[in-house]
């Protein structure tokens, strides 16, 4: 696939004082406000880090008062690393979906071009990877609850579940948005005229990804 450029302007383009589409300005402003939301959640987690009076703790060993057994830190790095990889790859699939929609009008002579140019394939892949990420998160939350960590257990539980729960809710909204686009694509083939609608979803999806990049390092890897 060669460098992509936008197709000719659709008839319904609205010209504005900035020359930019209102919807794209709105999504960037929304993403900016979301930065501050997640900053407040991350800083709350970091402020209360290490201040829980009872376990379980994220990295440090703790003694279970019911069984008297000493257990390791509760965070499961291998599982979270896998889910991080899944979310990163979903961003790759999303950007390929957008490129496929933008370049729908370009002929695709080879099989490779046809695969790269299939917006339905990449939208489906992105939604699937997002759903797999949510599956990992559901698994992690269930394991934590079984080990005795709930949102009410200690400061770590409260701040951790609030932060990652908010992120998971954002991923859920993203998956719903992607599935909606996939249905529209199946019904009437998204083309270059729809590129902005896919772009808005892509920006939201990549933002959810970059938030997880920060969460993974600050919450999971730094002890």
């Amino acid at each position: 696939m060669t460098a992509s450029a936008h197709a000719p302007a659709p008839a319904h383009v609205h010209y504005t004082t900035t020359g930019l589409d209102n919807r794209k300005i709105a999504i960037w402003a929304f993403i900016g406000s979301e930065c501050m939301l997640f900053a407040s959640l991350i800083s709350t987690y970091l402020i209360y880090k290490g201040k829980s009076r009872v376990g379980p703790y994220p990295h440090e060993p703790w003694t279970n008062p019911l069984t008297g057994q000493t257990q390791a830190g509760i965070l499961d790095i291998p599982i979270t690393s896998a889910s991080t990889f899944v979310l990163l790859m979903s961003s790759l699939a999303m950007v390929l979906a957008l490129a496929a929609v933008q370049n729908k009008h370009i002929p695709k002579p080879t099989r490779g071009d046809r695969i790269l140019g299939s917006s339905q394939l990449w939208l489906f892949t992105t939604a699937l990877l997002g759903a797999i990420f949510l599956g990992f998160q559901a698994f992690e939350f269930t394991a934590f609850v079984n080990e005795g960590l709930t949102i009410k257990t200690n400061l770590f539980g409260s701040t951790f579940f609030t932060l990652t729960g908010f992120h998971g809710a954002h991923v859920t909204v993203g998956v719903i948005w992607l599935v909606t686009l996939l249905f529209i694509d199946r019904r009437r083939n998204l083309g270059p005229a729809d590129a902005l609608n896919v772009d808005l979803c892509a920006l939201y999806w990549h933002f959810v990804d970059v938030v997880w990049i920060a969460i993974f390092t600050l919450i999971y890897l730094i002890e």
Binding site: A9, N22, P192
Partner: protein, 123 residues
Amino acid sequence: MAHEHVPQNPPTGSHAEAHGHPAAEHVHPTARTYFMVGAILTIITIIEVWAYYIPALVASRIFVPALLIMSAAKFVIVVMFYMHLKYDHKLFRSLFAGPLAIAVVTIIALLLLFGQLGDRLRG
């Protein structure tokens, strides 16, 4: 304030310009670039996780700064290449960078006031 349907910026026939991007700025990367970026992100993530499992490295003073730098690099790469901020209009950069700067300053200020950084500074 934006005025819809009013051709303040008359159409020039280019979708790129209709969206406020000079044509030269609006060329997106190729699929090859996207795959390369994906590979770089994966490699950085592998290095981060690998570093986590080396006790000597975790105990050293460079561990946290190194992780923060790698995380910041991943953040910037996704924003620049996947979110196309490198190629898009400057206004979008401002709309993102402004609140992001406020967010980072807020985290640092709160940590200095209440958290780990404040404890360290107070000795």
